[in-house]
C-alpha cells in the first residue's frame, strides 16, 4: 500500500518551480520539501518570521529561539533572515509568495477553501491560513481525497466556514491533481492505482476531463 502522505508530498513538490518563494503548511505540505528534484531550489518562508528555512536542526544542535510555524527547531540557510510578524504578513499579503501549500477540511469547485473550523468538533483557528491564501500567487491544497468516513473533501460548495473565497488554484490528493478553471475543476493527473470511474465516485463535484489519456501522477 502506498504511503499517502509521501505520495501527496511528492506530487506537490513536482508543481514547485526553481526559485519559487513558498510557504509550506504544517504536515504534508512541509514534507514536500523532501521531494524536490535536484534541479529545483526553492526558498521557504515560515510565517512566524523566517525566510530561508533550512532542514530541521540536528539533535543537540537546536537553536531554541529558531522554530518554524509548526514549532519544529529548524535551521536558517545562508542568505536567509528573520523578521517580525508585521513584516512576515506584509510579505504574505503583499503578493511576494509564489505559492502556498496547505491542508483542507473541504475545498470546492469554485476554489473556495475551508480549513480552520469544523463546528462542534474542531477549532484550530485560522492562524496564518487566511492571509496566506489571500496573498500567495498560487494556492496549492494538499489533502487526502476523502475524509476518514469516506466522504468527499472535494465538493460542489463548501458547507464548512470558509478560509477564503475562490483562491485555490490546484488541489493535490492521494487520487488526483485538479486545477481550478473558470468552468470548474479540471483533472490534470490521476493516481496509477485508481480508475477514472472510482475517482469520479469519490469526488463530490463534477470534473472536467482532459482530452485523450489522463496523465498519471508520480508514484
Amino acid at each position: 500500500m502506498k504511503n499517502v502522505r509521501e505520495f501527496i508530498a511528492k506530487n506537490v513538490a513536482s508543481l514547485l518551480k526553481d526559485g519559487d518563494l513558498v510557504n509550506l503548511g504544517v504536515g504534508i505540505p512541509t514534507l514536500a520539501a523532501n521531494y524536490l528534484p535536484e534541479s529545483v531550489t526553492i526558498f521557504i518562508q515560515a510565517e512566524n518570521g523566517l525566510l530561508g528555512c533550512g532542514p530541521k536542526a540536528r539533535e543537540g544542535e537546536e537553536n531554541l529561539d529558531l522554530i518554524d510555524a509548526g514549532a519544529a527547531y529548524i535551521t536558517c540557510l545562508p542568505g536567509g533572515f528573520t523578521f517580525d510578524s508585521v513584516t512576515s504578513f506584509g510579505i504574505i499579503r503583499g503578493g511576494h509568495l509564489d505559492a502556498t501549500v496547505l491542508g483542507a477540511l473541504q475545498v470546492d469547485e469554485l476554489g473556495n477553501l475551508a480549513n480552520w473550523y469544523l463546528p462542534g468538533k474542531l477549532l484550530p483557528g485560522p492562524g496564518g491560513a487566511m492571509d496566506l491564501v489571500s496573498g500567495a500567487k498560487k494556492v496549492i491544497v494538499a489533502t487526502e481525497h476523502n475524509t476518514k468516513n469516506g466522504d468527499p473533501k472535494i465538493v460542489k460548495r463548501c458547507t464548512l466556514p470558509l478560509t477564503s473565497e475562490g483562491r485555490v488554484t490546484t488541489i493535490v490528493t492521494d487520487l488526483a491533481i485538479l486545477n481550478k478553471t473558470e468552468a470548474g475543476l479540471k483533472l490534470v493527473a490521476i493516481a496509477s492505482d485508481i480508475t477514472l470511474q472510482e475517482l469520479i465516485a469519490r469526488t463530490g463535484c463534477e470534473l472536467i476531463l482532459p482530452e485523450g489519456e489522463v496523465p498519471l501522477m508520480l508514484d
Partner: protein, 214 residues
C-alpha cells in the same frame, strides 16, 4: 505586580513557545486579576507549556474577552467557543499583527482582502476599490503589553534572537504600559544601534526572565 489590575486589556508576545515572556505571564496569573481582555497569537494549555498560567486564567474564567489567532494548541478555548461562555474574537494572524501595528502607529484602520466572504468579515464594513472587495479592520491597542527580547538594556532596547521577534516589537508600540522580559540584561550601548528590535522608547519596565528554556 501593582501594574496588574482587574479589567485590563493585555497583549502578550510570542509565537508558539518562542518569544513568550514566561515569567511575566506567570506573575500575571499569580496576581489574581480577573475580567482581563487577553490578546495573543496562541495560548497552549499543554502541561508544562510556557503559556500554562495564561491558559489557566482562561480556564478559570478570569479572562472575559479573548482575541486570538491560532487555537489548535488549546482544547479549552475550543470548548469555551462552542459553549459561548467566553467572548472570543478569532483574528487571522496577519490581521492581528497589522491591527496591533495600526494601534501603535496612529493608523485609524486598514483595508485587507483577508477574510472577505468568511465569518471573519461578519459585522465589518466592506469597501470595494477598483473592483476589489476589502474588509475594514480597526486598530488594536491595550493597557498593558508583556513582551520578550533575548537581550535588553536598562533603557528597554531589546534584541530578539532567531524567530523570537514575532509579535513583540509591534505589541511594545501598542500599549500604554510595556513590560519587557529578557533572557539577559546588558549595559546600554551593548546592543548595536542597528540591531534593536524592540524600541526602548516604548518600554516602561525591564525584568530578567526566570524561565528555563525547553
Amino acid at each position: 505586580m501593582r501594574q496588574f489590575r482587574d479589567g485590563q486589556s493585555i497583549m502578550v508576545g510570542g509565537f508558539n513557545k518562542v518569544g513568550v515572556p514566561g515569567t511575566l505571564v506567570r506573575w500575571l496569573e499569580e496576581s489574581g486579576v480577573k475580567d482581563i481582555t487577553l490578546i495573543v497569537n496562541n495560548c497552549s494549555n499543554a502541561e508544562g507549556s510556557i503559556w500554562s498560567p495564561a491558559a489557566k486564567m482562561i480556564k478559570d474564567g478570569r479572562v472575559s474577552h479573548l482575541k486570538i489567532s491560532y487555537i489548535a494548541t488549546n482544547s479549552d478555548v475550543c470548548a469555551l467557543y462552542e459553549a459561548h461562555v467566553l467572548d472570543i474574537e478569532i483574528i487571522p494572524q496577519g490581521t492581528l499583527a497589522e491591527r496591533i501595528r495600526a494601534g501603535g502607529c496612529g493608523i485609524g484602520g486598514f483595508l485587507t482582502t483577508v477574510g472577505v466572504g468568511t465569518m471573519i468579515a461578519e459585522g465589518k464594513q466592506e469597501i470595494t476599490i477598483n473592483g476589489i472587495k476589502y474588509v475594514l479592520e480597526m486598530p488594536l491597542a491595550a493597557d498593558l503589553a508583556l513582551v520578550k527580547a533575548s537581550l535588553a538594556d536598562p533603557m528597554g532596547n531589546g534584541l530578539c534572537f532567531g524567530t523570537s521577534k514575532n509579535f513583540n516589537p509591534a505589541m511594545a508600540s501598542a500599549a500604554s504600559y510595556v513590560m519587557l522580559e529578557t533572557d539577559r540584561l546588558v549595559p546600554v550601548g551593548e546592543i548595536g544601534y542597528e540591531h534593536v528590535d524592540v524600541a526602548g522608547i516604548y518600554v516602561d519596565m525591564v525584568i530578567p526572565s526566570a524561565e528555563e528554556k525547553a
